[in-house]
Amino acid sequence: MKRIIVATVQDRSGVLNRITGMLQKRQFNIDSISVGSSETEGVSKMTFVVDVGDHQKLEQLTKQLNKQIDVLKVSDITDKAIVARELALIKVGGSGQLRSEIQGIITPFRASIIDVSKDSLTIQVTGKPDKVEALISLLKPYGIKELTKTGVTAFLRGQQPQQVTELNSHLI
């Protein structure tokens, strides 16, 4: 099962290495990690999308993360009301006619063309991972020359409903 785990960590040298090393040593499968600064100076936020076999393994993962001295807080936000986004840059071959066709495909995704050359264009899309995936598969027939994704970053919505209706695990 896929889960979204968020960790706040002290921004010290080696912290990323420490955490990825632990995950590798303990054989956790990581789909993506995104890291960046947070609202507090000296504190970074990490978002992991992990694929764990069962709840026991998931509990181990959060405990092992928590055990790290640089880690301040760990939460599994998969079953909460969250906003989760990732960004992808997709370079596809295309000129003339094809361009307007591609434009037609990406518009409903609110994606945009951010670079154009003689025989290619680069599309930027942001959104939930499933939306990004959907656009990528629609663009595949046009020949994807290059693709890069940031990995998911996420946090809790301002308001948490009593009952969470949005199930996130299928999205990732």
Partner: protein, 573 residues
């Protein structure tokens, strides 16, 4: 040891470098013994040591691995952090085995490594090694000192992290320019560790749950690990076990946390544990694990481990709970605090006389056993004599192999902090240097190092320290002219194909000892053993005894690899 300076010049008196500050922080941390070895990147520190003549002792080993195992032995008997200093590059990499060993067995160490100057880090400079990268997975935490003003805080934090919560090794990497740099005097030592707050107090709800489980248990069992020793909770454990008449078994590292001669003690559990202890683990309906981590050498095949039991686990490290064995009652706490809370709960225990009686019968019916060979000494009998002649009161350090298991089986510990062995990593070469540290930490105690002929040869260069300081460590080499444990597995599981496990060429250990100026003895007759032990135990100096034991003796009983705890072999003669 320090050789006095001939000329104390005035300018050196006033000099204050990062290295002087470093020495001062060690003094402030009340370090009394520093296990080290010099080299280029720590020259400023060694110079400061020479100039400042601090009130602690520097022990010069002959190999950095010797330093770190000695520090582990010291930590294990004193409960304080063992402190190590080595140079960059090869000095640091020679420590890796010991750091990993300490990590696996939760031994508090603070390890200082020199590093090349900050300006050349990352350029593959002479004797540069990526100490941070290499030691990240094998330390509780590690630091590289970026500026000299951070040094007092970092050293302070390093000792705090190493010795609190679940203890472990902490590495502090000090670039040469930091230790050489001139510096001021006023620095903050305040901690800055918001992400490190080990929880000592148990959750009262879990204690209630545990008390409730106890009140229903017909076949309760306590499993005590080294966590009980670290938490200094042996008195509480004894009170708790006695109050409810609960049988107790130990992990290898937990030996000594409960009196081995106590009627409630079932002996050690695990791969070479007693039949009674392992059967109790198999049959119990409530297993209370206190400070052990359910290592695979204890549990055997997990499928068959405590299959009928409700499992409660008291551990200071939450990540250990539920890691290997599903746990119904998790108690994240210091063992002492948890036991105190349990002692305060009122529990009506159902009658478990039948259970107690079964265990008693098993104990009588299936004791540890051995056979005496015709020609050579029996290794188990030898250990028993060591136990008796030292009145069970020695500090025993062991290496790794058959002799280690025999020592665990036949030397009975009634007190904590007297059993020093490498459990998790199973590090050959550990036993003898660990004895040096143990003797330095407990100068008035009898320290006996029980080693194999194989493992002793991995770190025997430290005999120099024994001679230099006349440390009265007694080294008993259980010499079977073999890598005995390997030989045993080849006999049992590889149809006697003794691939590279027979030591056909060993040194003359007597002459070897003598070449260091140390007494050396050889024993191969049973009748000489007791007089020899009486002799060496009353001799105030180091001795090496080469004891020629039967090669073909195997360690029994045993849970074969992959088998469950209820499938022991070699249970009876």
């Amino acid at each position: 040891m320090k050789v006095e300076a001939k000329h104390e010049t005035e300018s050196t008196e006033q000099m204050r470098t990062g290295a002087d500050l470093f020495i001062q922080t060690l003094v402030d941390a009340e370090v009394d013994t520093l296990f080290g070895y010099p080299g280029g990147a720590v020259l400023p520190i060694y110079d400061a040591l020479y100039r400042s003549n601090p009130p602690f002792d520097h022990v010069l080993s002959r190999h950095e691995q010797g330093s770190i195992h000695a520090a582990e032995g010291y930590a294990r008997v004193t409960g304080k952090a063992g402190v190590v200093l080595a140079t960059s590059g090869p000095g640091a990499t020679n420590l890796i085995t010991g750091i990993t060993d300490a990590m696996m067995d939760s031994i508090p160490l603070v390890i200082f490594t020199g590093q090349v100057a900050s300006g050349v880090i990352g350029t593959d400079a002479f004797q540069e090694s990526d100490v941070m990268g290499i030691t990240t997975p094998i330390t509780k935490y590690n630091y590289q000192v970026k500026q000299v003003s951070d040094l007092p805080r970092i050293v302070n934090e390093a000792f705090h992290i190493a010795t609190t919560g679940r203890p472990g090794p902490v590495v502090v990497d000090i670039p040469k320019n930091v230790s050489a740099q001139l510096t001021g005097t006023e620095f903050s030592k305040d901690f800055n560790l918001p992400g490190y707050q080990p929880n000592k107090k148990p959750n009262p709800l879990q204690i209630v749950k545990l008390a409730d489980a106890l009140s229903r248990a017909k076949k309760p069992l306590l499993l005590a690990g080294a966590g009980v020793v670290f938490a200094k909770a042996t008195e509480e454990l004894k009170k708790f076990a006695e109050k409810y008449q609960l049988p107790v078994t130990n992990t290898l590292l937990g030996l000594g946390s409960f009196p081995g001669t106590h009627p409630l003690h079932l002996g050690m559990a695990g791969m070479h544990g007693t039949y009674t202890a392992n059967t109790a683990l198999y049959e119990c309906d409530l297993l209370i694990n206190i400070g052990a981590r359910f290592d695979d050498r204890l549990t055997g095949n997990l499928e068959h481990f405590a299959p009928h039991a409700k499992v409660a686990h008291i551990d200071i490290d939450p990540a250990e709970i539920g890691k290997n064995v599903a746990t119904e009652i998790p108690v994240v706490a210091d063992a002492k605090e948890a036991l105190q809370a349990l002692l305060q709960s009122v529990v009506e225990l159902p009658d478990h006389e039948v259970w107690k009686e079964t265990l008693k019968l098993n104990k009588a019916e299936f004791p540890l056993w051995y056979e005496k060979p015709e020609q050579k000494l029996s290794p188990q009998w030898l250990i028993k004599q060591v136990y008796e002649q030292s009145k069970g009161d020695a500090i025993i350090t062991t290496d790794v192999g058959q002799h280690q298991m025999w020592a665990a089986q036949f030397y009975t510990f009634d007190k904590p902090n007297r059993w020093v062995t490498s459990g998790g990593l199973g590090t050959m070469g550990f036993g003898f240097p660990a004895a040096i540290g143990a003797q330095l930490g407990a100068p008035d105690d009898l320290v006996v190092s029980i080693v194999g002929d194989g493992g002793f040869q991995m770190t025997l260069q430290e005999l120099s320290i024994l001679k230099e300081r006349n440390l009265p460590v007694k080294i008993i080499i259980v010499n079977n002219e073999a890598l005995g444990m390997v030989r045993q597995w080849q006999e049992s599981f590889y149809e006697e194909r003794y691939s590279e496990s027979l030591l056909t060429m060993n040194p003359d250990f007597v002459k070897l000892a003598e070449s260091y100026g140390i007494r050396g003895l050889r024993i191969d007759q049973e009748e000489d053993v007791i007089p020899m032990l009486q002799d060496i135990f009353s001799y105030n100096g180091p001795v090496v005894v080469d004891c020629r034991v039967e090669q073909k003796t195997c360690v029994y009983p045993m849970i074969a690899p992959g088998k469950g705890i209820h499938e022991m072999i070699g249970v009876k003669k």
